[in-house]
Symmetry: C2
Subunit: 432 residues, 2 copies
């Protein structure tokens, strides 16, 4: 074994960073044996040095992250500060000064992955980011390496633990959205401002990263259709149960049937209780992958948290250190397929639509005609009068597969019918 | 991209081999883009050339596998013939003549993994074998690379699809073992001689491989305790249901609580219906991994079949080809921890024991005394008279955690009690 250590600079020492530093210390011998050389924490860049946790040598701590990545003797920069800047500049500076980079920064990778990969490629260094998607779950490496000889057609996953906790709570207790969110906040699963989670921004960033890797194409954050889950109601869960389904916030990346384009989207959807993703409880994540040869695979585990995320960072750190010792680099960005990303209107799936309609003869015929005119085939209709009377009834329509554009046209036309008082909810049905 | 192709020799062209050849042809452009150079099928060694399938150039087919691996211009040998010989000699010969090797041979890896890794190391070549465990499920790469910075404490999995199909059938239809086996045979899930599957030999080979990788130690096939599932009865499933459990054939690899030793075993066990492994149906496989930092992870997918296994082989082929182009090798055997493998008697778990006892006062006290004398603490006891009378009753005991040696001593002593007519079944309870 080489005795001269590889030097690691840690950018950020919050929940994840402090776990990375802790494991580097407590598992130093294991890491050295697995890498073939010891690794040494050479510097820790933080914003507030007073907050650095126990176990880290104060002499290593600096507030000057730029100087740290420019030192020139750093082998690997571990970036766990998150956000776009200064992370982006620090990473490109690290490459320019000879370091490889391990990052957990989903927002940055989703927005600027191509530029960062290009910078890594020019410098001949590694950029690894297993921790950026689904925390500790090994996902990027399996997609990029284990399935490198296969053709992936679909990646569908629960990639945000906060929203899964909320939806699971609503499903199991009948709680409303706000009540479930409050509990998630109290338990530390949701942040004070939960927008990034509940509006699907976090999941959309992960969908962009996953789609790019799965399809060997570039998919930017802006390419991902996004709908949050703040409008999911107890009534939606009741409807889902009637169909033998539950509701999950899904990130879905698909290759079109003709192979010539891809789509990526994040939205709440009904999935059958028999689908493996339906049983993913609490704040866990899981990603379901469908490929030509391997068939259906699922990867399941904790999607966030300091220790799980640190596990993914350290797995990358070992790989990058091994590559450096071998004078090699791992697989870089693979975007050779250059498939266009189709708009949401082209997505084909099934829909569950609840309408409030006038309770009188002929309404069903009118509604069915609108669906037919837009080429949307109806699978089942359930019609029921309201217990409070009042001349209104509800109509639940489940469609066969249709394009999102056709469905939107249908809904638009339904809203213009005199007999349709309102569209109570529209939800996609996946996983069948 | 390099234009000179990497040359691949395929040993075996059965269900898996012919899929590998097919995908190498149909996905040639994708593979070239992912590797950075084209790959070319340079030879296919088979036993019966008349059986070689459509799509393979007859000029490539040979019955002289030894001459093929000795050619000297082969970059990667893909071994999918299975069994110990001639596979072992062909693989070591391939290394001696400059090739790297991708293998799907679990029996050989479990028995001679150390020697093969040593041969690869001496030759400076790669030995990859993702397909040897759980077919297409990316498992070896995640354990060996993604979790390289973590400490794995437990690997528990359903790694044999045939037996999972049989047990799932027994559970869902109430069928007996023989009836379920017959159906598995008729559907092609079980071979004409199902011994390797139903007696747990196949799962034990996979357990040895997984334990070695998870614990960075050498675990041989002989180190794995093995019990088949041919004696699982409908009555056992009824008992399991009473406990909110089902029965699975599990491969379990554990690090002892003090970290100083490991165990590996294969046997049927009750697991709670709420455990993620309980919902693995049909011939699917799934492996549950517990580590210090990542927590609980699960990997799920098809455990066998031509196309899924070929997917895993091709993922390895891409990695090995990339390594060759970079002049590097991937991670070799990691056995630095050199932990001893403890015997089955040291394993600590819970037990479900059904006893046929005389239906008279005092029997429960006698039985409970025997458990206490052997240091096995009882969790619950359920006692019931037989509907046919006859002076016999059944007693179902579920224990707290105890060593397998203590439990064996207990059962031995129970058999010696006059009031115990027989021990109807003993089953371990896992996953709680």
């Amino acid at each position: 074994m080489r005795t001269r250590p590889l030097k690691v600079a840690l950018l950020g020492c919050g929940v994840v960073g402090s776990e990375v530093a802790r494991i580097m210390t407590t598992h130093a011998d294991d890491l050295a044996a697995r890498i073939g050389a010891p690794v040494e924490l050479a510097g820790v860049a933080v914003r507030r040095p007073s907050r650095v946790r126990a176990g880290i040598d104060p002499a290593l701590v600096t507030t000057d992250a730029t100087a740290l990545v420019k030192r020139g003797d750093i082998d690997v920069v571990v970036e766990v500060i998150g956000g776009i800047e200064p992370a982006r500049t620090l990473i490109t500076t690290a490459f320019e000064h000879g370091a490889s980079v391990v990052s957990a920064n989903k927002a940055l990778l989703a927005q600027d992955g191509a530029a960062l990969h290009a910078a890594a490629g020019e410098a001949g260094k590694d950029l690894y980011y297993e921790a950026a998607v689904a925390g500790a779950i090994p996902l990027i490496r399996p997609l990029r390496e284990s399935l490198a000889g296969d053709k992936i057609n679909r990646v569908m996953g629960i990639v945000n633990g906060t929203t899964n906790f909320i939806l699971d709570k609503m499903d199991s207790t009948g709680a409303g959205y706000q009540e479930a969110l409050d509990e998630a906040t109290a338990l530390g699963y949701a942040e004070a401002d939960p927008t990034a989670d509940v509006e699907g921004f976090d999941a959309a960033a992960k969908a962009a990263i996953l789609a790019g890797i799965a399809f060997h194409s570039r998919v930017r954050l802006d390419d991902v259709y996004r709908e949050g889950m703040t409008e999911v109601t107890s009534a939606d869960f009741a409807s889902a149960r009637n169909m033998g389904c539950t509701i999950k916030l899904l990130a879905i990346c698909e290759r079109a049937a003709d192979g010539g384009s891809v789509t990526a989207r994040v939205h709440p959807a009904m999935i059958p209780l028999t689908h493996p993703l339906a049983s993913v409880r609490g704040a866990y994540n899981a990603v379901f992958v469908e490929s030509d040869a391997a068939g259906q695979l699922m990867f399941y585990g904790p999607g966030a948290g300091g220790a799980p995320t640190a596990s993914a960072v350290l797995g990358d750190l070992v790989a990058v250190c091994r590559n450096r010792l071998a004078g090699a680099t791992g697989p870089g960005e693979s975007a050779y397929a250059a498939l266009p990303v189709s708009p949401m209107g082209d997505v084909v799936t099934r829909y569950h639509i609840s309408l409030d309609v006038a309770d009188k003869p002929g309404v069903l015929a009118q509604v069915a005609t609108v669906f037919a005119e837009h080429g949307v085939s109806i699978d089942t209709v359930r019609q029921q009068g309201r217990p409070d009377g009042g001349g209104e009834a509800s109509l639940v329509v489940v469609t066969h597969r249709a394009s999102d554009a056709s469905l939107s046209g249908t809904v638009e036309a339904l809203r213009n019918l005199d007999t349709v008082r309102g569209v109570a909810s529209i939800m996609r049905v996946e996983g069948e």
